[in-house]
Amino acid sequence: MRLNIRTLALAVVASLGSAATVIAAGDEPYREHYPQARIDPARGVNGDIGFSDTLPYWRNEEEVERNAKWVGDPNEQWKLNWKFMDLDRIDLHPGHLAVDEGEAMVAKFAKRNPAFFSCLAEGGAKLDGLAAAYPKHDAALGRIVTVESRIEHCAKTVLNEDIRQGTPPNNKIAVYFKSLSAGTPIRVNIGDGKVMEAYRRGEKLFYVKTGQLNFACASCHVPGSIMGHKLRGETPTTPFADAAHYPTYRTPVGALESIQERFARCLGQMRTVQIKPGDPAFVDLEVFMTVLSNGYPVSVPSAR
C-alpha cells in the first residue's frame, strides 16, 4: 500500500513536471539562434583570445601604433577593432566639447541642488573612477543601473527634470561622467548574482535571430559569422572592448550616441523593431557587452 502511494506520488510529480514543460514550451515562440560561442565572463576582454584573436593588435596603444599601417587597408583594418580612433593624437572632435558641456551642466544642476551631484556620486564627493564599475546592480533601486539611467534617475528625483536616456543632454553628462574614469580598467562586478543574471539574459539576446532579415547580433560579431568578412563597405569586428568608448561622437551621424542608441541603430539595419534606450532588454545587452570589456580602460571621449 505504502509502495503504491509512493508510486502514485511519483507519477503525479512526473506528470506535473511534464505538464509544466509543455506550458513553458508553449510560452516561448519559435526562434532560431546563431550557434553560441564559448565566452568565459571571468576573462573579461581577454576572452577575445580564442574568439576573434585580434586582441593582440589593439590591447594597448603601443600595439595599435605598431599596427597602424593597417589603417585604411580593406583586408586588415578590422583587426584593429577601431581602436586606432582612440589614439591620443586624434584630439579634436565634438566628443571633447561634449565633456565640457556635460561638466557645465552638472555644475549648473549641482548649484541648483547639491543633492544632484551626490545622487550621481552615490553619496560620495567625487565622480572620478565611478563609471568604470557600470552597469551595476543598485540594491536600493532594485535594478541594474547604467551611467545613463543613473543620470536620468537623479535628474528626475532630485531636480524633477527629464534628462532621458538617448537624448543629447543625457549623453553630454554621460560623456563627462565617463571621461572622469578615462584610462580606468572597466570592472563590472560579475560577482554580483543580479549582474550575472542580466549577463546571461543579454548573452541570450546576442544570439537570438530576429527581424525581417532573421539576423542575430552574433550573425556579424562571432567567429565563423560575417565578422572579419566584408559586408559591402564594412567589416564587422569583435564585440570585445566595444563598450569602452560609449557614448561616442559618431562622425557619420554627426552626434553623440550612447551604446543603447547604437544597439537601436543596429536593430534598424537588421530590419527589427528598434526598442528604446533604457529598455530592460538593452540594459541586459549592455551588461553582456560591458563584461566583454572588463579589464579594458574606459576610452571616453571618443569618436567613431
Partner: protein, 149 residues
C-alpha cells in the same frame, strides 16, 4: 478668404516640407524583436518554407541585377561578389559566374526563397518566407544569376 488660405499655406509650407523630409522608420512589427514586453517579442520566427517554382521562370535579368544590388531590396552584394556590382561582400560564395554552375532555375528559386531549407545554419535571410522579395523579384534574380557567366 483667398488671402487667408494663402497665408496659412505660407505658414504651414515649411512645416509640411519638414515633416515630409523626416523619414518615418520602417515598420518591422510583424517580425520578432528583442523586447521582453512589446508584442513583437512574442512573435514566432517564420519556419523554413520550401517553395517550388511554379511554371516557367520568365524572369528579367536586368531588373534582377538592380534588385540584387539595391540595399533596400535584395542587397545580395552585402555578402556575395556579383557581376557588375561595386563593394561586394566576401562572406557568401562568389556568384559572378553562377550561370556556369549548372544549377537549375527551380533549385535557385527555392534557395533564394528560403536558404534554410538547404542549410539550417545559413546566415542568408529567408527572402521569400520573410517577404523581403516578391515571387517576381526572386524570378528576376534567378534570371540575373543564370545570365552571369
Amino acid at each position: 478668404m483667398k488671402t487667408t488660405s494663402g497665408i496659412v499655406a505660407i505658414l504651414l509650407g515649411p512645416v509640411l516640407v519638414l515633416s515630409a523630409g523626416a523619414q518615418a522608420p520602417a515598420d518591422y512589427s510583424a517580425y520578432p524583436c528583442l523586447s521582453y514586453t512589446l508584442p513583437c517579442g512574442k512573435i514566432a520566427t517564420r519556419k523554413p518554407q520550401t517553395k517550388t517554382l511554379a511554371g516557367a521562370l520568365d524572369g528579367n535579368a536586368e531588373r534582377g541585377r538592380q534588385i540584387a544590388q539595391a540595399r533596400d531590396k535584395g542587397n545580395c552584394l552585402a555578402c556575395h561578389v556579383m557581376k557588375g556590382g561595386a563593394q561586394p561582400g566576401t562572406r557568401g560564395p562568389d556568384l559572378s559566374h553562377y550561370g556556369n554552375a549548372g544549377r537549375s532555375d527551380a533549385e535557385t528559386y527555392t534557395a533564394i526563397h528560403d536558404m534554410r531549407t538547404r542549410n539550417p545554419e545559413t546566415l542568408m535571410p529567408p527572402f521569400g518566407t520573410n517577404e523581403i522579395l516578391s515571387d517576381l523579384d526572386i524570378r528576376d534574380i534567378v534570371a540575373f544569376l543564370q545570365a552571369s557567366k
